[in-house]
């Protein structure tokens, strides 16, 4: 099997008319038809629409008209991003037939960049989960080993990139949902700073934690996607304006290595990962040291409390955000509802899967009278302590490096019976969301089972340009991200 092209390579090939967008899209659709029944990355495919869009782009290019920075390139988006075409399901029975009346901000940006949105990818229901097993609509497997999970919740977006079913994709990350599946599937995943990408049209899970970001073949593609999706949007009150943070050109200085890079590591934290992961991280650190980087060992005293704080804050917000799914105005309504109260209680019981209900219950409990201060307010204070840990870390170092996940992709069904064990595996990713920072996952090796391992790099808020450059330094001297599937 031939190497998969990066989005940048494909864009340039299309722009130079070495191949047409129509051809590229058609090839992608063929591959999806061939491979996706096994992988299960997509919830919907827009074949006709994609071909039409591709033809339009080809005509524009042939006519010498200016085109956008992703012209003709087939991309996929997570199915919690609202689109007026097709359904927006969130992987839930609740929204199985929901057609959004508007496009998400990032969808508008992709369209303005002349990208071809080829389909929408599977996810854990309402982005709640770390394996995509919580999707009520489809099973997604890890393209490297179909008996294993793709990670989650953006499992479909990660698997689609890994299996060559799109050139790049968008996911969302509330507690690791871009970085962890990127790590499990051997692709590059970036969770931007909170506020860097507009959440308008992203179906909310945890409002103060959610961010949309790219899953790509390499850091250059991530930079390209960030150039398209990042920036202020007046429809999202939490979107950072230019006065907060100027949006740079993420591709401009990408290939410039950072001299005297100071890398913080937390040895006690890394020790919690399985041996193969620890080794791969150590090897990656050596690569950076060989590039002149300095390694600084630090402690993060409150990191250990992140999961506990996260599962209070995220579920509290979710319990409120998901109250709107009630069978009255849109979405699933139970045929068994006799009165209007039952329209709520039966529709919600039947429309939501167990993990969503569990989190709604937990969040409702955390906000309810008598528990609010002990859990919700306390968790917000812990969140502040965690952020302060990062502030101190970035006084000493340019970035923090640690694993993405303590393990490589686990077996399907392995953890479904024990939700707490599933939550505890989010240890390395969650603190980043609580602190609102950018985090990057880059492939850094394989374990003995030939499963990909991810290195996580974290930098200060609104320094994705620097973060991507750090990632690029690594990818310019390693080829883990270019390994192809054993299929």
């Amino acid at each position: 099997m031939s190497d998969f092209q990066t989005a940048l390579e494909l864009r340039d090939a299309i722009a130079a008319q070495h191949c047409s967008s129509t051809q590229a899209v058609q090839q992608m659709l063929n591959r999806i038809e061939q491979v996706d029944p096994t992988v299960g990355a997509y919830l919907s495919i827009f074949a006709d629409r994609a071909i039409q869009d591709a033809k339009r782009i080809d005509q524009k290019i042939a006519a010498g008209q200016p085109v956008g920075p992703l012209a003709g390139v087939p991309v996929a988006v997570k199915d919690n991003l609202c689109t007026t075409f097709g359904t927006t399901t969130c992987g839930s029975k609740m929204l199985e037939h929901f057609v959004a009346p508007y496009n998400a901000h990032v969808i508008e940006r992709l369209q303005a960049a002349d990208a071809i949105i080829i389909g929408k990818t599977n996810l854990d229901e309402f982005a709640m989960g770390s394996s995509t097993e919580n999707s009520a609509l489809r099973k997604t497997v890890n393209p490297w080993d179909s008996s294993r999970v793709a990670g989650g919740s953006s499992g479909g977006s990660a698997a689609a990139v890994a299996a060559g079913l799109c050139a790049a994709s968008l996911g969302s990350d509330t507690g690791g949902s871009i970085r962890q599946p990127a790590s499990f599937c051997g692709v590059t995943g970036l969770k931007p700073t909170y506020g860097r990408v507009s959440r308008y049209g992203l179906i909310t899970y945890g409002s103060s934690l959610d961010q949309i970001g790219p899953l790509t073949r390499d850091t250059a593609d991530a930079a390209l996607l960030m150039n398209i999706i990042a920036g202020h949007d007046s429809r999202d009150s939490t979107s950072a304006s230019e006065s907060i943070a100027v949006k740079p050109d993420y591709l401009a200085d990408l290939k410039q290595p950072i001299n005297g890079l100071r890398i913080a590591v937390v040895p006690t934290l890394n020790a919690g990962a399985e041996a193969s992961v620890q080794n791969a991280i150590e090897e990656a650190l050596k690569v950076y040291q060989s590039l002149g980087a300095e390694r600084i060992e630090i402690t993060m005293p409150h990191f250990d409390y992140a999961i506990a704080a996260y599962y209070v804050i995220a579920t509290a917000e979710a319990s409120s955000n998901l109250a709107r799914f009630d069978g009255v105005h849109y979405g699933y309504r139970s045929p068994n509802a006799g009165n209007y109260i039952e329209v709520y209680s039966k529709s919600r019981d039947e429309g939501f899967g167990p993990e969503v209900k569990r989190r709604i219950m937990l969040g409702t409990f955390a906000l309810s009278s008598g528990y609010y201060d002990a859990y919700y307010v306390k968790a917000l204070k812990v969140r502040n302590l965690i952020r302060q840990d990062f502030v101190k870390a970035f006084e000493k170092a340019d970035c923090l490096m640690l694993p993405v996940s303590p393990t490589t992709a686990f077996k399907i069904g392995e953890k479904t019976d024990d939700p707490l064990q599933m939550y505890l595996a989010d240890i390395y990713t969650i603190a980043v969301n609580l602190a609102g920072l950018p985090g990057l996952s880059v492939p850094c090796g394989f374990d003995a089972k030939n499963l990909p391992i991810g290195l996580q790099i974290i930098t200060n808020a609104f320094t994705e340009d620097k973060l991507l450059r750090i990632g690029q330094m690594y990818q310019s001297v390693t080829d883990w991200h270019k390994r192809n599937l054993p299929l």
């Binding site: 929901f98 308008y200 945890g206 409002s207 999202d236 105005h329 209007y340 609010y372």
Partner: protein
């Protein structure tokens, strides 16, 4: 047995702010539109849609807070109040919980005896309105969300009101204030202002004080209903106390609805439900900080408030309290009146012209007196002509009407229409001579028949004025006629 009681009433008031668009989205606020046509993804609570605060609503709320002598919070935020109801599409209402925009103020209300009373305001906060459920005769309810997301100012008074008429006075004064400020149309019938009184009695019986259970009264859509409902509740609570001896306890607050047809309060809910609204800060919105500069800019729009103006008109212009109240009922009238007086005319004359003619004309044309096309200067000129006896009061009305149609000054109109009064004694004396000559019988009655003197005098006056074609100044006619007959 001795028994007396005090009426204790506190009000919860919702004032709909007259912004152009809704609180968190760009849907236009228009009363009486077809159902669900002033809605968008945000106010429909569509998944992924996000709220953005309307600046005009914040400013209107602050302005009202200032007018109610409140302390304006320099830092405030938005909280979610969770409950399920079909007219509430997100199943939470965006409101303000622990940091209301305004606190600790008072409203000064005019009392019927001409004095005034200060009623303390506990707090005023901004929140979004719900939609409307229509309860049909069939087995279903119909939901219209046009109203959902309308900005409301919730004002809570301390229980400082002690009679039905005080409650009405407060309601009317508040209406006058918000209309002066231009922040609300404040039409009770249209639901722009909704009052929910909390009523109970402090009964002193044989030297012991008993407090009756508090009742909240709903469905009040006129000032009259508001006043009567309090009177009804007073009687009902007194009867209930005498029959049962029931007193105030935690949790025994009940809700009564106003039955406008039968003019009585009807029990709606026996006990207050133990609500758990799970308030928490809305993570989709950011806090509001009110700077000195912003606050003073808003305060500059405050202007003179109606009661202050009313009191000034009595004090400085010597008007009766009644006249001052009529003039200050609407800001446009009051300001116009004030301007005319400042142009140099006798206040009572201006007042008479405005209340007797101006308001009638404005009402006929469904406009305000300042929009009749007459400048304050010309109105003052007209008043001065009456004052100087140049025209009669009747002619002033005719001239006033004509002034609304032409661009001529009152003197010109009076001349054209031959309405100038004859003040020339010689000319009038000649007419009197003629009338005396023609009416000898009446003259002798006036001179020597005490029974008929008054009537005869009036007849002779009328004859003179008729001969002058209505132009003789009645004052001068009476004076000269008297002198002639006495001679």
């Amino acid at each position: 047995m001795s028994l007396n009681y005090n009426i204790i009433v506190g009000l919860e008031i919702h004032v709909q702010l007259a912004t152009r668009t809704k609180m968190f989205c760009g849907c236009e606020l228009e009363f009486g539109q077809p159902p669900n046509t002033r809605v968008c993804p945000v106010c429909l609570g569509m998944p992924g849609a996000l709220p953005v605060m309307n600046k005009a609503a914040v400013e209107a709320a602050i302005l009202t807070g200032l007018a109610l002598n409140c302390t304006i919070s320099r830092f405030t935020k938005w909280d979610r109040k969770s409950y399920y109801y079909p007219d509430l599409p997100k199943n939470y209402q965006i409101s303000q919980y622990d940091l209301p925009l305004a606190e600790n103020g008072y409203i000064e209300i005019p009392l019927e005896d001409g004095t005034s009373k200060k009623i303390r305001i506990r707090r005023a906060h901004l929140e979004e309105d719900a939609g409307k459920n229509t309860h049909t005769l069939g087995n279903f309810s119909a939901v219209d969300l046009n109203r959902a997301g309308t900005p409301l100012l919730e004002i809570v008074t301390e229980p400082d009101l002690n009679s039905p008429s005080e409650v009405r006075q407060l309601a009317q004064e508040l209406q006058r204030i918000v209309r002066y400020l231009g922040v609300s149309e404040a039409d009770m019938q249209k639901g722009h202002m909704r009052f929910e009184p909390n009523v109970n009695l402090h009964i002193t019986q044989d030297g012991q004080v008993f407090k009756t259970p508090i009742t909240e009264v709903k469905n009040l859509n006129s000032f009259r209903a508001l006043e009567r409902s309090i009177a009804c509740e007073v009687n009902r609570q007194l009867d209930e106390f005498l029959a049962t001896g029931k007193t105030l306890q935690i949790g025994n607050k009940s809700t009564y609805g106003w039955d406008d047809v039968n003019q009585m309060t009807v029990l709606q809910r026996e006990k207050e439900e133990a609500h758990d609204y799970r308030y928490f800060p809305d993570p989709d919105l950011v806090p509001v900080a009110v700077s000195d500069e912003w606050l003073s800019r808003i305060a500059s729009r405050l202007g003179e408030l109606p009661l202050a103006m009313q009191q000034r008109f009595v004090r400085d212009y010597g008007l009766s309290d009644y006249d001052a109240q009529v003039l200050t009922a609407e800001k446009s009238t009051a300001v116009f009146f004030d301007a005319a007086v400042r142009c140099g005319a006798q206040p009572k004359r201006i007042c008479n012209l405005l209340t007797q003619t101006g308001l009638k004309l404005a009402n006929e044309k469904q406009t305000t007196v300042d929009a009749l096309g007459i400048s304050p200067g010309r109105l003052a000129a007209l008043a001065n002509m009456v004052e100087a006896g140049q025209i009669s009061a009747t002619s002033a009305t005719v001239i006033f009407e004509t002034m609304t149609q032409t661009d001529e000054d009152p003197a010109q109109i009076a001349e054209q229409k031959n309405l100038l009064q004859k003040n020339d004694a010689g000319e009038i004396e000649a007419l009197i001579e003629q009338v005396i000559w023609e009416n000898q019988k009446a003259v002798s009655d006036a001179k020597s028949n005490p029974k008929k003197a008054k009537k005869a005098m009036g007849f002779l006056m009328g004859q003179v004025i008729q001969k002058s074609k209505g132009q003789a100044n009645p004052k001068i006619v009476a004076e000269l006629l008297n002198r002639k007959l006495m001679a």
